[in-house]
């Protein structure tokens, strides 16, 4: 049911990728995403694909689990493929009235869907191997220099981690409340639109009441433990780069250099 909604889901496993410093993963993901827009030829996709495949292998997350994230963009993907396939000008392979398939069309369609797939898999790989807490930790530490220009980095990341923590709790709560009302004959599946919207009131009221209560309790609990915002706050587990992280950065650099170098070379040879 509602619990099956997965937002930035974490997949617990013991792998090199899971153990990496979250900053490495943040930088790595960002680099990978940007790198996908640095080329537009076959060799580039091969290199990016190989890099991604190696990372997936290292992450020990089952492939089926990763592909699940693609379901959400299947419609978008179909649109891109169809549009590119039929509307690209070039050498014509097949034609029916105004519809035509061109060599260039096929190429763009394939490349575009590959790029989209890589984008989604690349970013979901980060959330799959990094807990929300690590992620916000990484953001906070990584963005720490911005404190100098008075950006409330700590507050922002604290809000983010609390929000992330509350998503599954509130989803579970919604599930329980819906069940409790269904047990009293509430019907969420049938009826006209107005009726369905009305049917949400018995769910939303207890949900809001409980969310406010939880927020209040949390604020109290934080105050009771002397939380006073970020100034002078130290960490129990400060983020520290290890040799592994260094290697990962090195791998990243190698990837970017190979990618840029080989794609340029390829283009030069073709011209």
């Amino acid at each position: 049911m509602i619990r099956d909604i997965t937002i930035g889901q974490y997949y617990p496993a013991d792998s090199v990728l899971h153990r990496l410093d979250p900053r490495v993963k943040l930088v790595g993901t960002l680099t990978f995403l940007i790198s996908l827009f640095l080329f537009n030829n076959l060799i580039g996709y091969v290199i990016a694909g190989v890099f991604l495949a190696v990372t997936i292998k290292l992450s020990r997350v089952p492939f089926s689990f990763i592909v699940r994230g693609l379901k959400t963009i299947i419609m978008l993907m179909l649109f891109t493929v169809v549009f590119n396939l039929f509307l690209t000008e070039g050498r014509i392979l097949w034609q029916w009235k105004f519809l035509k398939i061109t060599v260039e069309g096929i190429q763009t369609a394939v490349f575009m869907s590959l790029r989209l797939t890589f984008l989604i898999i690349g970013s979901s790989l980060m959330t799959l191997t990094t807990t929300p807490n690590q992620l916000t930790d990484g953001l906070e530490t990584g963005l720490a220099p911005l404190k100098k220009i008075h950006v409330p980095v700590h507050e922002i990341s604290m809000m983010m981690s609390i929000a992330l923590r509350f998503i599954p709790i509130l989803l579970e709560e919604t599930d329980k409340i819906m069940k409790a009302q269904q047990a009293r004959g509430a019907d969420f599946e049938e009826g006209k639109l107005v009726e369905r919207v009305k049917a949400l009131v018995p769910v939303l009221v207890p949900l809001f009441v409980s969310a406010f209560r939880r927020a209040n309790d949390l604020a109290m609990a934080m105050e009771a433990r002397c939380y006073r915002g970020g100034t002078g706050r130290t960490r129990m587990k400060p983020l520290k780069y290890t040799r592994q992280d260094g290697m990962a950065y090195l791998g990243l650099v190698v990837y970017v250099v190979t990618l840029v170098g080989l794609t340029r070379l390829w283009e030069m040879l073709l011209v």
Partner: protein
């Protein structure tokens, strides 16, 4: 209406890393008019089991029959089932939402599309049954104390006049007085209206006092199923499951060890009778 569970299994989040086999091959028959206690340690699957009985959770495998009909049949009305098998959840906060107590209790019967008069009748009857006093009728459910909230929640389900009433830990967080009051009331309702009641509880004393039949769950399967006397005679196994028998069972046990002719007893009342019985005998001798 009898309910039959036939080889029911349930797995939470099947196919993910969080997979949890919460019910393992459950076979139970719940006849009409029984007062059943369901016990088991935290996480043993009690709440999961009872949510199957009114179709809120669909079994991963196995079937459930209500009055001889398979509840997973296409043309079986779940809505109808839910009004006939009333379920009161562990936390009343999950269901109270209206502006007044009366309106909140009305929610169930209104969903059944009953005539207005009938709705009113059932509402007030249910509120009276659970012992909510009149000055609270127009209070906001959110202003009530924990015990009062729970009563209103129970009334909300009773107002649907279910044939089977299931209560998930109705006495958690109540003082001893409030606990006895609620349970006495439920026992009374059960006798008067001849409905089936399933009581999920952590208190051995409570179940021993009220129920005819006791079902013990452990790690998702049914371990014992019988009268409280039969079940509590296995107090050693119960302890291994993290449960215990009522205190008096142990007292009688000790007495027996000391050579007194103490029989089995699961409630203080029974123990009293038993002990007075053989003290009387001795006097005669």
């Amino acid at each position: 209406m009898p309910i039959v569970m036939d080889h029911v299994n349930y797995i939470y989040s099947a196919g993910t890393a969080y997979e949890k086999h919460a019910l393992k091959d459950i076979n139970l028959t719940i006849p009409d008019g029984q007062f059943i206690g369901l016990i088991g340690h935290t996480g043993s699957g009690k709440s999961t089991l009872i949510q199957h009985l009114n179709g809120l959770i669909k079994a991963s495998s196995g079937s459930i029959y209500f009055n001889g009909r398979d509840i997973y049949d296409e043309d079986f009305s779940m809505k109808n089932l839910r009004t006939r098998v009333g379920l009161v959840f562990q936390y009343p906060e999950h269901q109270l939402f209206e502006t007044t107590v009366v309106k909140d209790v009305e929610f169930g019967p209104k969903n059944m599309k009953l005539p207005k008069l009938e709705v009113n009748l059932r509402t007030f009857e249910a509120i009276k049954m659970v012992g909510i006093s009149e000055e609270l009728y127009d209070a906001s459910p959110f202003e009530l104390s924990g015990g009062q909230k729970r009563r209103v929640a129970i009334a909300g389900v009773l107002a649907m006049k279910p044939e089977v009433l299931i209560l998930d830990e109705p006495t958690a967080g109540l003082d001893p007085m409030g606990r006895d009051e609620i349970l006495d009331q439920i026992a009374k309702i059960q006798k008067e209206q001849k409905i089936t009641v399933i009581l999920v509880s952590h208190s051995m004393e409570d179940v021993a006092k009220y129920v005819d039949r006791l079902i013990v769950m452990d790690h998702g399967s049914v371990q014992f199923d019988g009268t409280p006397k039969e079940v509590f005679s296995h107090y050693k196994e119960l302890e291994n499951m993290g449960l215990a028998a009522p205190q008096v069972t142990y007292v009688m046990q000790e007495l027996r060890k000391k050579g007194f002719p103490a029989g089995e007893a699961t409630t203080v009342e029974e123990a009293k009778k038993e002990i007075l019985g053989w003290i009387g005998d001795k006097r005669k001798i």
